[in-house]
């Protein structure tokens, strides 16, 4: 065996964890004086990291049937974590303590998780935190949070009433004599079975109180506005700033804001349009994730990928990925049809594949599944300015949860999450659309 062959053999045994201390010293001495060997070692280490990424990606693309959402969290999105979880625990703990002040029973099971994708956390009244919740788990009163881009969860109360938590939703939930929820922010879609007389289901938001006896509806809340869409039945909506009350019935929509100058009335709701198209001559809504860059010379305006919470490790640590998230502002973006296509114009610093995820809800607001497509970089050619365009039919998206194998009829897109296959590609998006096949840009 030549000296080089002997040293390469030592290297392979080092990587396999089989060298003695003396052999490691010998290997160190050789590496100290051999730049070629060091370059080879660096390359092997880089290959191993990339192979690990690929392994996680493949596990993610073949999720276990019963825990698809969990695989999404723990396997694929093992990326950069950058925020101390402790901070969110403290914040959530305070919020829960505020809400559960002893009036509510807190130890018995209140809900069961029927469906979940992405990161779902629960914080109990004493600050106990559970992360990475999965289907079938039963939980008592507490604060629930969908903590990653595209995360959704469907909870079922013991009487069969269902509530779906949309992406990035925080809600405290309890049931003593009646069901009570406090929606801090986000979206809730309800399917409420008839409640006992005198004990309606109550939903409190920063700007409104909703009283429900039995109905199907969706409520979206932020700090200064609550939007209610009633699919079936009747919901009593109280605007908190002045106590004015409104009955909102089937197929109606109403908005309660902090101000009293806006008209407080129910109007006939309508599904979002079948065509949605967005360029960035104006910055995107605050609910989006992306760094807006205005047009400059021949350069179009675009949004650049920013760190987004993409999932959660098994130990509860949030994991981040650079991406862009589009959301409707108090409403869904678009209604899907059988011939819907996604059109995307994007650019990256280096050629890279993209992933696009759609969060979809049914027409009545219930969770309709998450769907994803990969756009290999070979399928598109960049123009001279580096921008690429892809048009992808709905049929090319694959389900991330087997329970929802295909987008529902008249499904409504609540979220679009776009990310590149590698971390440092400087993803930029200049145009984004979901529209019937054959539509053209305005």
């Amino acid at each position: 065996m030549t000296t080089r062959a002997k040293h390469e053999h030592l290297l392979m045994r080092y990587l396999d964890g089989r060298l003695t201390e003396a052999e490691t010293r010998e290997l160190s001495a050789w590496l100290r004086g051999d730049a070629v060997a060091r370059a080879w070692l660096r390359d092997v280490a880089g290959q191993v990291v990339a192979l690990g990424d690929l392994a996680r990606e493949q596990r993610w693309q073949s999720p276990k049937p019963e825990v698809a959402g969990v695989e999404l969290i723990s396997a694929r999105f093992s990326r950069t974590a950058w925020l101390a979880l402790a901070a969110s625990v403290v914040v959530l703990g305070c919020a829960v303590a505020f809400w559960f002040d002893g009036r509510h029973g807190t130890s018995s099971v209140v809900v069961e998780i029927e469906d979940v994708t992405g990161a779902l956390n629960w914080t109990g009244p004493t600050g106990e935190l559970r992360t990475g919740l999965t289907r079938g788990q039963q939980l008592s009163a507490g604060m629930f949070e969908t903590a990653s881009e595209g995360a959704m969860a469907q909870l079922r109360f013991t009487d069969g009433t269902r509530v779906t938590l949309g992406n990035r939703t925080e809600v405290a939930l309890a049931e003593d004599r009646q069901k009570q929820l406090r929606l801090k922010a986000g979206l809730l879609a309800f399917e409420v079975l008839p409640q006992p007389p005198g004990r309606p289901l109550l939903v409190r938001t920063p700007t409104a109180m909703l009283e429900v006896l039995g109905t199907v509806f969706t409520v979206t809340a932020g700090a200064d506005q609550t939007t209610l869409n009633v699919e079936e039945g009747r919901v009593r909506l109280e605007r908190l700033t002045d106590g004015e009350v409104l009955d909102v019935t089937s197929q109606q929509t109403a908005v309660a804001t902090l101000g009293q100058t806006e008209r407080f009335q129910a109007s006939t709701g309508s599904a979002p349009p079948v065509r949605w198209w967005r360029t960035f001559t104006q910055p995107p809504e605050a609910s989006w994730k992306g760094d807006w860059q205005p047009a400059s010379g021949a350069e179009p305006a675009f949004v650049r990928a920013v760190p987004c919470v993409a999932g959660q490790r098994e130990d509860g640590m949030p994991v981040y990925q650079l991406g862009i998230t589009a959301r409707g502002n108090g409403a869904h973006l678009v209604t899907l049809g059988p011939d819907s296509v996604l059109r995307l114009r994007w650019r990256t610093a280096q050629p890279a594949s993209l992933r696009v995820m759609l969060g979809v809800q049914k027409a009545d607001g219930r969770f309709g599944g998450n769907f994803e497509v990969r756009i290999p970089k070979e399928t598109t050619q960049p123009g001279k300015d580096g921008w690429r365009t892809a048009v992808i039919s709905l049929g090319e998206f694959r389900p991330l949860i087997q329970k929802h194998p295909a987008p529902p009829e008249r499904g409504q897109v609540s979220l679009i999450f776009i990310t590149s296959s590698t971390d440092d590609t400087e993803l930029q998006v200049a145009e984004l659309a979901i529209e019937p096949s054959g539509s053209t840009k305005n």
Partner: protein
């Protein structure tokens, strides 16, 4: 002016491959290397001292990754001995001087598709399933030395293929011994 949290995350993302690789060279456990990188990322954001420059952040990250990796080895009591510190420092300095941070996943995927089935199987057992070479030898019916030799050749072939893919957009794969 101190780097913002977003810039810190961007810089660490861009250097993730080399930082994780540096951790792996010490711990030789892919999952542990990933965890170490994530822990260092969290430390970078919660550390009280602001980073003024990207180079300062990266230098700090490399040193912290090395310390965390060596601590991990001690805690695990695996008996694994890392390379001597000055060699690790040399490797870190060379990594920092490289324009790119290692093979891209897309190029690697394409090169793996070109690899012979037996080679792919070896790489899967060793790195996807995280098996020691002795277990790989048992699973494949090869001797341990043969596994070392073939893995070594596969790494060289992957390196060549990835470089060709990244520079010419064409990939070829040859793991035949020179």
């Amino acid at each position: 002016m101190a780097l913002s949290q977003e810039i810190i995350v961007r810089v660490l993302f861009a250097a993730r491959s080399r930082l994780s690789a540096a951790a792996w060279l010490v711990v030789r456990d892919a999952q542990a290397a990933e965890d170490i990188f994530q822990n260092v990322s969290v430390k970078a954001l919660t550390k009280g001292v602001p980073f003024e420059q990207e180079a300062q952040l990266l230098s700090w990250a490399h040193v912290t990754v090395r310390h965390e990796a060596i601590d991990w080895l001690r805690r695990q009591r695996t008996g694994l001995v890392p390379l001597e510190v000055d060699v690790l420092e040399l490797l870190e300095a060379e990594w920092a001087a490289e324009p790119t941070s290692g093979p891209r996943v897309d190029a690697l995927r394409e090169c793996l598709e070109l690899a012979p089935a037996e080679g792919r199987r070896l790489l899967e057992l060793r790195y996807f399933e995280g098996r020691q070479c002795e277990e790989v030898a048992r699973a494949t019916g090869l001797g341990l030395e043969a596994v070392y030799q073939r893995l070594s050749r596969l790494h060289r072939a992957l390196k060549t293929c990835i470089e060709r893919r990244l520079t010419t957009d064409e990939a070829t794969f040859s793991s035949a011994p020179p």
